[in-house]
Each structure stands twice: as structure tokens, then as C-alpha cells.
Amino acid sequence: MNWSWILPPSFSTVSGDIDGIYYVILWITGITFFITEALLFYFIFKYRHKEGRKATYDHGSTKMEIAWTMVPLVIVLWIGVVSKGVWDTVKVDVPAAGLEVIVTGKQFEWNVTYPGPDGALGTSDDFETLNELHAPEDQPIVITLRSEDVIHSFFLPEMRIKQDAVPGQDITVWFEAIQPGDYTIGCAELCGIGHTTMGGTLTIYTAADFQAWSSSQAQQQQP
């Protein structure tokens, strides 16, 4: 059993930053947790009823109220500001260049469309894979995410990527992997009876291997 609060390893250019914020929050909340719980237990022990004990008659202190309003406020807002930068990188500032693919979710599979040799989507040399996403390392993969039926959620745990696929909407997601290997594709949003089976594999190649794989696929799938 893994009781650890350490995140499993991650392999994208942004995942380090995401994990970093996670650890910052883990430290802050962890310390807060230990202090408050320790105080709670200490007070329970120290001030438990004993014969002759009388509680202090005390209605509070404005100074303390201000202190414990302002300190948490500053801390959480600071977390917010730090978070904003990473969020913008992941979700707002989509890289202009990279491998563009279309991922379409439908009950209960992920369809991936690649641009083919001409590098452009929507042309006749496009090819497809089912429940597999193949991509090169060190290059942004810019995904247009779609759904054909209900909402699914495109989840790449090792890349720290998650984005709902919404029918009727084209949503852009991007990531850049930093190490070749096989990773998980999951669906994180309940999408029907077969939701549990809606997984797949993300395969990251070196740039050269990806070239080779891509052209062989393009050949095979030529009509």
C-alpha cells in the first residue's frame, strides 16, 4: 500500500512546475495541518475538565481576528498568483508550432487523427489510430480535442494533462513529453457503462523513431 504523498513521476515539460506547486501547497497545508491539529489535541488535553477548573471569561480579541484573517488571506492569494503562471502555460499559451493531431472521444474509445506526410490535418493523407497516441519527444503536441457523443475527459496522468472533451466544442490541449516510453491515456469523466474501459496508450518516441513510425503508418493506411 502506498501511503505516500509524493506524486508519481511525471514526464512533460510542464509537469515539473505543476508538481512544484503541489509540493508548495503540500508544505503549507502540511504545516498548517500539524500546527492546528497539535493545538487542538494539546488544548483538549490541557484544558480537560478537572475539579475546580474555571474557564476564562473571554470574548475574543480583534487583533487576533485580524491576524488570522490576513495571514491566511495573503498565503492563499500568493498560492493563487503562483498558480496562475503555470496555468497560463498549460492552458492559455498554446505553442504556435508542433505536431498537430485531433483526438476524438466517443463511447468508449479515443480516436486519434495524424496529419500524415504533408504535415497538415484535413488532407487525404491523414491517418488514424485507435486508443493509441503516438508522438515524438521534445516537441509540443497540440491536440484538438473533440467528442462525438457525451463528455469524456482526456487524461494523461504521467504528463499531468487533463481536459474534458465536450461534444460540439473544439478544445486545444498541448503537452511536450521529455522521455520516450509508454504512458497511460485515461478517461476521467463518467461517460457511460463502459467508462472504465476507455483507456489507451500514449507512446513517446525519439524524433527519428517517430518519423519512421509515422511514415510506415501513412503507407499502410493509404487507400
Binding site: 506547486i21 498548517t32 492546528t36 487542538l40 471569561y57 475574543g60 492563499v76 457523443d149 472504465t196
Partner: protein
């Protein structure tokens, strides 16, 4: 003289001494007495609490032992369980119904009616010194709308296609058509049931708000109101304004399903995200509906059992009000990954961060209340302190999810499930245990058995944490929620032992609740007889007999001070009831109006 006035004079002549017995049906079934309605809500919602627990147990069987035959599964119909020679195995569609109905029942039919229906009804009139609610008959209607809603909800298990299976959030378009889920009528019953229940809550909210504004006894100024009443008042306002949004959304979804309108159906241009916006615009205030009354109850119990004034009464009230306002502008934090404009995500993150602050303020004030107190660690206090301890965890985990980049990873994983249960089980439900135990003598005139309660407390707090703490870890390993068989994912398969551990703990946790159930029923009949004020409390409900008579107060109470004057040097005991006249000034007779026997309100 009009008929009403004639009735009135007649009633006044009868006076309040004439307490003729009501017929059984008026007293126990169609009662207009707020205390009886409170008890009715209590029994019905405790029943639903048990049902919700059983649903969870079945769910946990599947997660702990994926694909293995469930003990007793043969008793369930084939539409839920696939029979095999070794026993019956749960079907994924039934699992989806379980997830959906567990969440729905617990939130709408157990926790919410316990907090609002039970404690709202029981405490508001008693704590402000009113003879009943402003509209007793509306109050009765509120309960009798909730009952058919509950029956409809449960009946959906029995219909063709089974109960709703799109999650308690019923995201469109999954929830729009049985084409996607295999559930047709079940989903419609879900929608109809919640619409009716919404109406019930709404009627209740109108009643509570009117009562608090209009029916306070002389001297019961706003800032002398007990925090439980404050919290219930703000909760009622949230219900009043949030429920109609939900009702509108439910009806639109129902139309999409039945007559084929297009609101949430993308194939005809509808907007699935519109459902989410409407749902969470209601949904986030809803989660505060589920915690504010709990905070109020806990404040009462902690101050009383610490024999010390609540620390920072005014900031406690302001925090409640602050949550009431901020709660309206944070709904987008449920939708960070939904495809909503990511720039909006940032503003929702900031407002969500801000709303963590009032929660922090309240926590620190509870800590400071027990600091230098004289803590009587009997069972209500233990439950209340457990609330504080668990709420700290739930509040802190909220910060992880509020941070948009971190939420990318943990959204829709078991981390969320852990958060929900730390605030709703560790939070709301522990407060409910505290509240029921604390006000049990007032409701039934008898005390609950202290030893049994301590046993129940010990078992529950330990097992509860064994169940829900590891869910954080599951989430951090990437295990998604609402998943029928996580072992289908290779990277999740190693989580099997931990899931099994959780499931076993759940079975024990559920079993341990029988201690409370036994104690509850046993004490109603056999508990030690309670005095009017067994906890030496200051608030008004403890000045009247246990249980209070119809009309509550033999004469109109007059309030001289705030509710938390414990250990005041001005008093010779360590409490100082709100109604006790100050030593110097004799009671102001003129302030007390003639008591009049309550009669039902006219139209």
C-alpha cells in the same frame, strides 16, 4: 368583526392553559408543530442515511473485490447483478447507478434534511423564543413534499433501465438520453424527484427566513442570536436563491429528455456546459448549505461544553455572512477542466482561495474557544471536536484543488472523493451526531447513553479516517473517481490492496453505526430522564420543559444578553441564561406582551 378576529378572540379566551390533545393524525402525521416536523425529518433522513450507506457498501465491494461475486448479490435482480455459478457479479450499469444514487441520496435526502429539516425546524423557533414557525402549515407541506420526492427517488431502482447513472451532478449530454447510459425512466424520476424536493426546501426556506426576521422574542437582537440560528438563517437564504436555479436546470433537462427540447443537446446546438454552469451555480452554494448549519451546531456545542464564551462571536457571524456572499462567485472551480475559458479559471481560482479564509477564521475561533476553557469531554463535545479536526483536513485539501494547475492532475480523481467526505462526513455528519446527541434530551426528554456514544465515537473516528484518508493517496496515484473497475488500467492495478483495505474499513464503519442506531432507539424509550437544562446551557430552548409543550414558551421570554455568557463573573453559576434578568435591573414587565395561543395562519 371578521371571522378571523372572532376565531382569534375565541382562541385568546381559551388561553394557553387549554392544551386539548390533538388527534393522532394531527399530532404525529400531519402535524404543524415545528418540533414534530423536525422529528419527522429526522426519522426520514436517518432512514435515507442508512440506505445511502448500504449503497456505498455495495460500491465498495466492487472496488475492493473487482469482478468477484458479491455476498448476497443473488438477492438482487439480474438487471443489477450478473448471476454466475459462484454468485452474482455487479454490472457496470448498476455500479453507475450506485455512484449516482449514493451521492444524490446522501446530499439531498440525508445530510441536507438532517441539517436543515431537523435542526432548522427544531432550533430556530426555540432559540429565538417563538411559539412556532411563522407558517406552521407551510412547514407541514414542506415535509410532506419531501416524502414523495424520496419515494420517487427510491422507486427509480425498480424501473426498467434502473436508477439514474450519470453521477449526482448528472452532466449533460450523458444524462439527456438513455441512448448514452441505458437509463431512461430512472433519470426522469431523478429529475422529477429533485424538482419536488427543491420545492420542499424552498417552502422551508421562506418559512425560516420569515421566522428569524419576524418572530424573535423581545431583546433577541440580531447579535444575540445563537450561531446555530445565524447559520441556519444564512443557509435558508442560500437555499432560497440557489434552489430555483437548480429547479430551472432540472426542468430544462427533463424537457430535453421527454419532449425533445435542445437546451443541453449539442447535436441541435444546445450547450452541455450550460448545464454545468447552472448546476454549479446552485451546487457551490449547496455545499455551503451542507456545512454552515453544521458549523453553527458545532459552535453551540463547543462553547457550551468548554464553558467559555465563543471566541470572536462577531467574526463568527461575519464569516458565515461572508461565506454566504462569496459562495456565489466560486462555482467555476468545479469546471476548471470543463472546457470553460481558461482565463475564467483564474478568476474562479482567486475567489475560491478567498473563500477558504472565512473557513480558516472559524477554525481558529473554535481553537481559541477551547483555549483556557473547562472542557467537558462528553459525547456531543467529542463529536464537535472531531468536526473541527476533520474539517481542517477537508478545508486544506480544498486548497490543492483550488489551485488550477494542481487541479489538472487531481480533478475527477479520488482526491476529490476524499475532500468531499472530509467536509461532508467528517464535517457535516459528525456535527449531526453532535447535534442529535446534544439536543436529544430536548427532543425526547431523555439522555442518550454516554458509554455507547463514546464507543460509537471511538469506532467511527478511527474507521472513518482509515476509509477516507487513503483516498487522498489513491487520487495522487491517479485513480479516477466513478470508475467501475480500476484494475482495467495497468498503472492502477497496484492500488488493489489499498482499495481492499478501504473497503474492509467501510464494512466495519457501517457496522459500527449500529451502535448509534441502537443507542438512539433505546434511549428514546429507556434513556435516563433529562432535566430541562442538562447541559447548563444559556440559550432559550433550555428554559422550557424537555420536550417543550405545544407553543413552546408558557410566556414570552425576554432576552437580556448574548447566548455564550459562560463563566461570566456576573453570574454565580458558570452559565448565565439569556433570559435571566441582570441582578441590578428588575424584569421589565411592560415588554412582555400578552401570550396568545397560536392558531394556524390564515391566508
Amino acid at each position: 368583526m371578521s371571522t378571523i378576529e372572532q376565531e382569534m378572540v375565541h382562541a385568546a379566551e381559551g388561553g394557553h392553559h387549554d392544551h386539548h390533545e390533538l388527534p393522532f393524525i394531527r399530532k404525529y402525521i400531519f402535524s404543524t408543530d415545528h418540533k414534530m416536523i423536525a422529528k419527522q425529518f429526522m426519522f426520514v433522513s436517518l432512514f435515507f442515511l442508512v440506505i445511502g450507506g448500504l449503497l456505498a457498501t455495495m460500491m465498495r465491494w466492487q472496488l475492493g473485490y473487482p469482478g468477484e461475486p458479491m455476498p448476497g448479490g443473488m438477492l438482487l435482480p439480474d438487471a443489477m447483478m450478473a448471476p454466475t455459478p459462484n454468485g452474482a457479479i455487479m454490472l457496470p450499469e448498476f455500479y453507475n447507478s450506485l455512484v449516482t444514487m449514493h451521492g444524490t441520496i446522501m446530499i439531498f435526502f440525508a445530510i441536507m434534511p438532517l441539517l436543515v429539516g431537523l435542526f432548522g425546524n427544531l432550533l430556530i423557533p426555540l432559540q429565538i423564543g417563538a411559539e412556532d414557525m411563522a407558517f406552521p402549515r407551510l412547514n407541514m407541506i414542506s415535509f410532506w413534499l419531501a416524502v414523495p420526492a424520496g419515494i420517487l427517488m427510491l422507486s427509480s431502482f425498480a424501473v426498467e433501465g434502473g436508477a439514474a447513472g450519470a453521477g449526482w451532478t448528472s452532466y449533460a449530454p450523458l444524462s439527456v438520453s438513455g441512448e448514452w447510459t441505458g437509463v431512461y425512466l430512472g433519470q426522469q424520476l431523478w429529475l422529477a424527484s429533485l424538482t419536488i424536493l427543491g420545492f420542499s426546501s424552498l417552502v422551508g426556506a421562506v418559512n425560516y427566513i420569515t421566522t428569524v426576521i419576524n418572530m424573535r422574542a423581545p431583546g433577541m437582537t440580531w447579535f444575540r442570536m445563537p450561531l446555530a440560528t445565524w447559520a441556519l438563517f444564512v443557509t435558508a437564504i442560500l437555499i432560497l436563491l440557489a434552489i430555483p436555479i437548480l429547479a430551472g436546470a432540472l426542468i430544462m433537462l427533463l424537457f430535453d429528455q421527454t419532449i425533445g427540447t435542445g437546451f443541453f443537446r449539442p447535436e441541435v446546438g444546445g450547450e452541455p456546459l450550460l448545464w454545468q454552469h447552472l448546476f454549479w451555480f446552485f451546487g457551490h452554494p449547496e455545499v455551503y448549505i451542507l456545512i454552515l448549519p453544521a458549523m453553527g451546531i458545532v459552535s453551540e456545542v463547543i462553547s457550551n461544553r468548554a464553558r467559555k464564551p465563543i471566541f470572536g462571536y462577531h467574526s463568527m457571524v461575519l464569516a458565515i455572512i461572508g461565506i454566504g456572499f462569496l459562495g456565489w462567485i466560486v462555482w467555476g472551480h468545479h469546471m476548471f477542466m470543463s472546457g470553460m475559458n481558461p482565463l475564467l479559471g483564474t478568476s474562479f481560482m482567486i475567489s475560491t482561495m478567498a473563500i477558504a479564509v472565512p473557513s480558516a477564521i472559524k477554525t481558529f475561533n473554535w481553537l481559541a474557544t477551547i483555549w483556557k476553557g473547562d472542557l467537558h469531554l462528553d459525547s456531543p463535545m467529542l463529536y464537535a471536536l472531531a468536526f473541527v479536526s476533520m474539517f481542517i483536513i477537508g478545508g486544506l485539501s480544498g486548497i490543492f484543488m483550488a489551485s488550477t494547475p494542481v487541479d489538472i492532475y487531481i480533478h475527477d480523481t479520488y482526491f476529490i472523493v476524499a475532500h468531499i467526505h472530509y467536509v461532508l462526513f467528517g464535517g457535516s455528519l459528525f456535527a449531526i451526531f453532535a447535534g442529535i446527541t446534544f439536543w436529544f434530551p430536548k427532543m425526547f426528554g431523555r439522555m442518550m447513553n454516554e458509554t455507547l456514544n463514546k464507543v460509537h465515537f471511538g469506532l467511527t473516528i478511527v474507521l472513518y479516517n482509515l476509509v477516507f484518508w487513503p483516498m487522498h493517496n489513491l487520487g495522487l496515484q491517479g485513480m479516477m473517481r466513478r470508475i467501475y473497475d480500476f484494475t482495467q488500467y495497468e498503472y492502477l492495478a497496484p492500488l488493489q490492496p489499498m482499495n481492499q483495505f478501504i473497503s474492509i474499513s467501510v464494512f466495519l464503519l457501517v457496522a459500527a453505526q449500529s451502535v448509534y442506531a441502537f443507542n438512539f432507539f433505546w434511549s428514546i424509550f429507556r434513556g435516563e430522564k433529562a432535566s430541562n437544562n442538562p447541559w447548563d446551557s444559556n440559550t432559550l430552548e433550555w428554559t422550557v420543559p424537555s420536550p417543550p409543550p405545544h407553543g413552546n414558551f408558557p410566556e414570552m421570554p425576554v432576552v437580556y444578553r448574548g447566548p455564550y455568557e459562560y463563566s461570566s463573573p456576573e453570574s454565580d453559576t458558570d452559565f448565565y441564561p439569556q433570559t435571566k434578568p441582570p441582578p441590578s435591573k428588575p424584569p421589565v414587565q411592560e415588554l412582555i406582551p400578552e401570550p396568545v395561543t397560536p392558531t394556524p395562519e390564515g391566508f
